[in-house]
Structure formats: structure tokens, C-alpha cells
Symmetry: D2
Subunit: 310 residues, 4 copies
């Protein structure tokens, strides 16, 4: 259910509607828009009694959301969600979503302070706003390098201070989630954990933006339902990321499914990014797939290392 408030509804009226919903035993999700605020209702098994809510002060109408995903749906919020990062320290203001081009770059793993700084310097020079490096690595093999952990988080915090880049890094369980939330600007949930619902809910209780990567064989609906898990706990700052799916094709490591971008944009207000590094899995395909018309970009920024980790 969705409660649409009148354009002129006051903060007090909005709060009163939320209180009413919570008293009914449900959860209220106020979603401010450019023109008016809507309030999503979740946790209701049966239809909420519409009449009483419509009678509350400031309420324009109460509508049913028929899709399985509610808070992630454009039915509930028509305008694009834009994630804002305030200017602070050496970092300028930045946004993800809307018409702006956000670029996230960095190495698969943070291997050392030297390696990370060398790459970060080139990324900052290229104009990208976000630095992504692996501190906790979800490795297929238990015997592979599992990441530097906290040490890597501290190195990336230094990179933020020095280069003004925002930090994006992956959390893989409760312990790493708490640390990533403390040290980074964006919490990444990787493809293998897209349906680790326990982790999603825990990320939903935080108030940091979450970059949610599409699972290797996730449908569009499953992808949005995983975003809904995060949002249902009150964290509405979800950034989706297409990173390629698993198919029979063997010329690339994954098959980048670009057509999910317009499909998501029709159905959801959430921003969606594309990861051409994992999406192709080939260093020499990254630039052709991202800017087919500008092959000379290779020459301009030859040093941006595409990250090719799982």
C-alpha cells in the first residue's frame, strides 16, 4: 500500500500518518518527492484498511501497489532516486543517479599501500569520483588470498583523504559489514551475496548507500526484490549494478546484459550502474563496450586498470 500525501501536507501531518501506520503494527516508509511525499506501508499481510488512513489530515489518496517489489517500484516513487554525497574534507560533492555520469574504478584487491596509491592517483587524475578496492574477497577457493581486511579499509580511508575519492568496498558477512560501514562511503554487496537475505536486511538497517550487484543468474524481478530487502528495513539508498550474467557464451567471462538498464529504469526509480570489467571479464573489451565511438580513450587513459576480480 502507498499513502500519497497532498502537495501542501506538513511535516507534522506526515509524521501523524506514519505514527498511525506503526500503531496498526505495520512499517511506514516516508519517501519524499519533488512535489509531494508518499508513505510506503510494508509488513501488512492483508490489505490495510484504506478508509481510516484516507481520512487522516493531509492524505491525498491510498493506492495498492500490485508489484512484488514495492519501495523499489516507480509506482511508489516516480522521480529517479539520486544518491548525494556531501562535500567533506578533500572530497567534492558527488552524486549517483539522475543524468550524471558516475565512475567507479580501482583494483580487484588492495594488495599494498603502494599499489593502491599508485592506482588511486591515476583514477583521481582521470576524473572518476569513486575508488573501489577489495578488502574482503569472496573467493571461489578457500585457499586463495582473502583480502587484507581492516588494513585495506585503512589504506582506502587514506586514499579518500589524499585524493578526494569516495570509497566503495565489499562486505561479505556481519563482521565485514560493520567495518565497511564504518570506513567506507558505499557498501558493496557482491553478486554471490545478492540473495544472502540475512546480509541484505542487516545492510538495510544501516544508513549508508549500498551498491547491490546483480547475481549471476538473477532475473530482473529477483534483483529488485533483493533491493526491496534492503529498503524494507529503512535504507532507501540502494544503487543497482549490472555486472554480467552467466550464459553458454565462452568468448567473455560473463555476458553483459545491457538491456536490463532500460528495463530497470522503466520499473524502478533506483539508479543502475554498469560494471564493464566483470561484465566482460576481458581487459581489451572494457573500452569497446563502454564507448564504442571513442577508441582513442584507450590512448588518453591507458593506465586505468580495469578490475577483473570475482
Amino acid at each position: 500500500m502507498l499513502v500519497v500525501m497532498k502537495t501542501q501536507a506538513t511535516p507534522e501531518e506526515i509524521q501523524a500518518v506514519c505514527d498511525h501506520i506503526e500503531q496498526l503494527g505495520f512499517r511506514a516508509h516516508p519517501l519524499p518527492g519533488a512535489q509531494r511525499t508518499a508513505i510506503g506501508i510494508t509488513g501488512n499481510k492483508d490489505a490495510v484498511e484504506r478508509g481510516n488512513i484516507e481520512a487522516l489530515s493531509g492524505v491525498a489518496e491510498v493506492i495498492r501497489v500490485s508489484k512484488a517489489y514495492k519501495l523499489a517500484s516507480r509506482d511508489v516513487k516516480e522521480e529517479d532516486t539520486i544518491i548525494h554525497f556531501q562535500a567533506s574534507g578533500s572530497s567534492a560533492e558527488a552524486t549517483i543517479g539522475g543524468g550524471n555520469l558516475a565512475i567507479i574504478a580501482g583494483p580487484c584487491s588492495i594488495e599494498s599501500r603502494e599499489q593502491a596509491f599508485e592506482i588511486a592517483e591515476k583514477i583521481a587524475a582521470s576524473g572518476a569520483q569513486f575508488f573501489r578496492g577489495g578488502a574482503y574477497k569472496p573467493r571461489t577457493s578457500p585457499y586463495a588470498f582473502q583480502g587484507l581486511g581492516l588494513e585495506a579499509l585503512q589504506i582506502m580511508a587514506e586514499i579518500r583523504d589524499r585524493f578526494g575519492l569516495r570509497i566503495v568496498t565489499e562486505a561479505i558477512d556481519n563482521e565485514s559489514l560493520a567495518l565497511v560501514a564504518e570506513w567506507a562511503d558505499v557498501i558493496q554487496i557482491g553478486a554471490r551475496n545478492m540473495q544472502n537475505f540475512s546480509l541484505l536486511k542487516r545492510a538495510g538497517r544501516l544508513r549508508k548507500p549500498v551498491l547491490l550487484k546483480r547475481g549471476l543468474s538473477a532475473t530482473l524481478e529477483e534483483f529488485l526484490m533483493s533491493a526491496e530487502y534492503i529498503m524494507s528495513e529503512g535504507n532507501y539508498q540502494v544503487i543497482l549494478c549490472e555486472r554480467g550474467v552467466r550464459t553458454f557464451a565462452d568468448h567473455s567471462r560473463n555476458t553483459l546484459d545491457l538491456s536490463i538498464v532500460p528495463a530497470i529504469r522503466r520499473l524502478s526509480h533506483l539508479p543502475i550502474l554498469v560494471d564493464p570489467s566483470h561484465g566482460t571479464g576481458r581487459r581489451d573489451s572494457v573500452l569497446p563496450i563502454t564507448s564504442p565511438k571513442r577508441p582513442s580513450l584507450t590512448a588518453l587513459n591507458p593506465s586505468i586498470p580495469p578490475s577483473l576480480s570475482p
Copy 2:
């Protein structure tokens, strides 16, 4: 690396080799066989110095394991792993693996004591040895029924006492893992968590059998590597389960990939089960796919409800 002990090696000699390996900073995994014991070595980045170990008392030879999975490989343990369940209380002895036919049946979710007992009675009468019911459900939607939790575990414990059925149920995170390990006989790790490596490692520290379901788009190697995660922590009682993979085919919910069974059996000593309920996702396909020659089985046991949950 694998240390193969001589046939006549004593327990003391085996222990001495394990101690030596641990002193080198690696992990020793003694794997008893019918003829002799082998000791897997993990945690070594570089090749372990072979000479010193070969010189230890009771050692026949030290060999390199070239596959990515070590402890799960038939190179390391030639005989089939058989999981034994001792007779206790009303439960007779049971095994999974080897030439025996183990049958696991039950409802998607435990919904009530009555529902669970009614189904359990029919399962016990059919000759199946294991009861599986969902206590913690990994739901695609945050708004769907998430399972009865501890209450369901307690109901299933009663079912074990009453019908002598062993209990299999899924753990989805740290909290449920601890409870499932306490109340159930087999811990199920579901398809969506097949690469939740943090959960796998935690299950590896327990000493209860783990039923590991294949992920929706997992390759054979990834499947065995996930088993390896559990084994690398010392829990060697891993049961694999094929449950269908995701393909373009739309006549069934998943495509049951039966040919992985002989492929796994060539490469690994671990037992592998087949889940025809999820593997087809259609009630009327379960019996044809399991026993094509005996259509009358439907008539014999019409009441076994195939479980069709995710």
C-alpha cells in the same frame, strides 16, 4: 599436498605427522580410508617441503594434488565417503552415500505441528529415513512468510522422537546455523547460499553433516570448491545435492542436470543426492523423473508431498 600413510601406520605415527604439519603453520586433515589413512595439507601457499615429511615414520609417500579442490577430490580419498547416522532413540541406523538409497522428504515449510506430523507419518510409512522441513526460509520477497524458526525446529525434534526420522533443515545465517546445528541431524545450506563463503566456513567448524545444494548457476568446479570451504575447516561430512539449474527452458522451474551425478562421482568421493522436487518444480514431473519405469509408484504412495519451495 597429500601425505599417504603406510597401511600399517599406527595412530601415533599419524598424529605425529599431523603435529609436524601444524608446526609448519599449515593445516592437517587426517582422512581415514579402508586400507590406509591419508593426510591432506591445506593452508600452504608454496609447495610444502616434501622431503622432511617423507622421512617421518609411517609415511608411504607425499603427492601433489593438482585440482583446485583438494579434500573433496577422489585423488585424496579414493573410497566413497559414507555418512553414518548411529541408531539412537527411536531412530534406526542410517547412511547417506555408497550403494544405499537415502530418501529425504517433507514439506517446504513447517506451518504447524499438525501439518508437520500428518506429513511425517506418511513419510515414515513410505520407508524414507529423513524428514526435511523449512524452519528458516530464504524468501525472494521480504514480505513473504519467513518460517516459524525455533518453533519449527522443536516440532521437528518431536517428529524425530515419534517417527524415528532424521531431521534435515536449512540454516541461512549465523543465528539459524547455531540453532539448526543444535536441533537437527543434517544442516542444509541452500542454493542461494552456496557461495556464502562465510556461512560455509562456519558450517565447517561444526561436526554435523552438511547438505550443500548446488547454486542455480554453479559449475561443477564451483560446487566442489564450496564443499572444499566446509572441509577445509575440518568438517568432512558433506553431502552434495543437485537441485536443478537455471536455463532458458520454461517447461520446468529449473533444469535438473542429472549428468552432474556421474561427473561428480568421477571427481569426488562425496555423496551426491538429487532433489527432483526443486529440480523440476512440477508436482507431476517428480515421479516420472525419478522412476520412469515404475509409474505405479504414484498409486502406491500418493500422499508423499513433493516439496516445491525455493
Copy 3:
């Protein structure tokens, strides 16, 4: 549309209804059943005027077939289609469909008279009724061996005479179709030609059984529609064959999709065979996938060569 004739309808009445349908500019497909005859109507874009046909002598009722496939549907013919092969020369009577087990075996390609006879002798001794050998090979590479052509057909005709085995072989175009129809007992249409509609229609004008293999990424509906192409031209002797589909799985050459068998049997009266050789693409998986309970079969008939050609 489907015209269901009364149980006691005479051949003359059936013929009169067919004539009436053809006069309307449509095509009539009489489909004799155990109890009564049905007459499929194809070629009608709009609904055929039902009233006039229902008024004809011997007609029980006229019903609409809502599925995209008509003649292949169980709605049109409830009983299983069984393909009969009359006894003739050294060949005993044989059937495909219904409850009987039909076995087709043979080499990928006929390479020489000696090779073919050596294999055929073992196949005959094993009790199989059908010999399949490639005369015309649909090769991925234009530079690969393309088959012995007519010479292979002649060798297989000799095999029929000598061993009493029926001959199944693939036609790949108009020229080979004419020759295969002349020399063989069953015309195979391969997976790569499953949607070569021109070839399907041409096979539909013949009166020899057609073994239609499922395409590498064909859905159930596409598969039945290809059968419908053959049937719409008047050839109702279509045998379907599941031979594995293309997926991400890399432990087998194709993924054998066994669950299509019960799904087809629910929707269609046509017989469906399973090709475990192409379906797995691995010699050592053929027996485990076909008779998991009888591993000793390997020892009994070690010489049946699984055919593993494309």
C-alpha cells in the same frame, strides 16, 4: 478446429467430412483413434463455421484447439501415437511409442563397410531394434569429413538385410532427404535443422517416420511447433528426441533435459526418445544416466559404442 466423429461413423462419412473441409479451402487431417476418429482442420485463418460441419452425418462435435500446436496436441488425439514397423525380410515387427522400449544405436558416421558391420553385429546381439549411422553429417566446419553419402546409405541397407535392424539416418537438405527417404526406415532431422522449416515441410510430404531432434536452445513449444510443421503436411509419424540443450554447465557437452519427457507426454501424443550420447557428450556418462540402478550393464554390453557426433 477439430471435428470429433461419432464412434459408429463409417469410413464414407469420415471421407465426406474431409471432402467438405477441403472444399472450404482448408486442410483435413483424419486422425484415427481407438474409439473414434477425429479430423483436424488446418489452414483456416478465421474460425471455420462450426454449424455446417456439425450438421454433417456422423459428426459428434466440433471443438476449438486453443494451443499453438494442433495436430501434435493431446487435445486432438488422446491416445499415444505408436509408430509401427511391419515385419519384412529379416526384420521383425517393431514399434516406437507406447510402453515399449525402443533402442537406437550406432556410430556417429559410417566410415566403412567393415566398421559399420562390426558395430551392427554387436548392436543386433544386444537386442536393439534400430541402427543409426551418419551418411550426411552437419559439420560445424566446412573442412571436416561430411559423410560417405549414398555409399553409407547402401551399406546401411545391407545391414538391415543382414541383421534385421531398421535404419535411422539424418537428412540435411533436399537432396539428402530424397535419398534418405528412399533407403532408410526413419528420417532423422537433426538439432541444427529443427527450425529449418522448409526441410520440415518437405519431410511432411513424405510418408516415412521422422525422428525430430530438439534444437540446442528450443523451448518445448518451439519443439512441438516444428513437429506440427511436419504433421501439417500430412505426415503424422513424428518421433521427438531430447538430446540435451546448451547451458552454462561445462562438465558435459550438453545438459540433458530429462524433465521435458513428462512435460511432452502431458501435452502431446507423440512419442519422445532420449539421446544420452549427445545429451551428455561423455562416453562414461551414458550408462549412469540411462540406468543408474544397473551399473553392471556396462559389463554386459561393453561393446555398444555410444555415438557422440554432433
Copy 4:
């Protein structure tokens, strides 16, 4: 094998080498390049005796081509193949391949002269150089509209005269191939016929450009091998076309596999086009997928109808 001629080799020397190869019973494929001519040798099962050929006048060297595809490989021809269409009548010069942007547009089927002309006028106004309309339709159902055939070809010939657009249309069998080759500028071989090797060889004997669409589950190597079939018969004017592959994803009709474009360009000199209409199967995804940066293109040319036929 590949014979690389010296830069200054004369036409007579090239001809003499070809004659020599043909006398050995092989096939010679002279492939002129900007700097020098290479001559591909096909039809040789064993290695051709290299020494004798290297001794011929004008020969620089003889090299082995290790890939399965020979004439389609960049190893054999380093420069991009560009298909030239000479100016003639109302049609200006046009090219496919190299750095130019070739646009092909038109309706799924030619339904009438009026429909075709109305669409063609808008296509010509938009600046596209090629008109594609279906005359022979490879329909999944035998009961669906199969195209206007010759009448459609004649309508398209009129469109060429009137608007100067080149005509691209699909051939589906021998009969339609002969007619399409007579009336059109480019012969399309559709996805369902990508491995109809008989049709490919027949198209290889013509001297018209062939637009070869990727099969629904074709790997890169299979795709190039199908091009090789055409080329092995002497027709080197092959244009590849990515049109989406079949996967589990259900938000689009096919999954457009854009990363095959750089992969093909690394391995082959043949031009490759992208078909965003079939590749997504959704009218509202065509523009976002082709020019993400220029959403206003929709407004500029709102009338270009994306073709969405199979």
C-alpha cells in the same frame, strides 16, 4: 594454409600460384589486401607440401593457420573487410565495415506496397542506407503468415528505385535464395538457419553480400565457422550480425551480447552489425541500447519502426 605473396607480385604470378594449388586438388582463395595479396588454401586434409609452393615466383611465405576458421580469420587477412556497394540508379555509394556507420531498417514483413512505401520514405529521410523487409518468413508456426514472397521482392525493388535504399531480405531455402539473390542487394541468412550448412554453401556460390545472423545459442567459434562455410565456396562478402542470444533472462526477448563485437573484431576481419530490435525484442529498449547518451534521438526520428520479427 596461407600463401603470402610478395608486395610486388604480379597478377600473373598470383594466378599461377592459384592454378598450382588447384592442380594439387585443393581450393585457392585469393584475398587481396592493401599491401599484398594472400591466397588461402582449403580442402587439404593433410598439410600441403609447403616447399614447392614457396619456390613459386612471387611467393613471400607459406604459413599455417591454426584456427578452425581460416578465411574468416584475421590471421589470413589483417585489414577489415569492407563491403562496397557501387552507386547505381538512385542509390548512392555505400559501405558496410570499416569506420562507417551503416544503418539497416524496415518492417518485419512486407505486408503491402502502401505499408512498405510509407516506412521506406521515413527510413530514407532518416539517413539510413539500407531497407530490410521480410518476403520469406521463418515462422515458428506453420499456420502463421509466411510472407508475400516474390511480390514482396518486387515491392522492395521499387523501393530501391524510388528511395535509393539498398535492399536486405532473408532467404530461407533454395528457392527463396535464388530469388533473393536476383532481386535484393544483400542476402540475409537468419538465426534459425545459421547452421543450415547446405544453404550456407549455396549462398557461398553466389556473388552477393550475405548478412549472416548469429544463431540463438551459437558460440563465437560456431558463428565464424558458419561464415567460413560461405567463404569456403568463394563468396568473401560476409557481414556478421549479433541479434541477441537465448538465456534465462526474461525482461527482454533475447539477451543482446554486445561483447561479441570486440571479440569478433579481434579474431576476424569481417564486419559485424548489431540488431537492437531482435536483440532486445522491446520497442522501448531499442534506442536506449543503441545510443544511451542521446535520448533525444527518439524525438528526432520517432517514426523509425523497429523491426521485431523472429
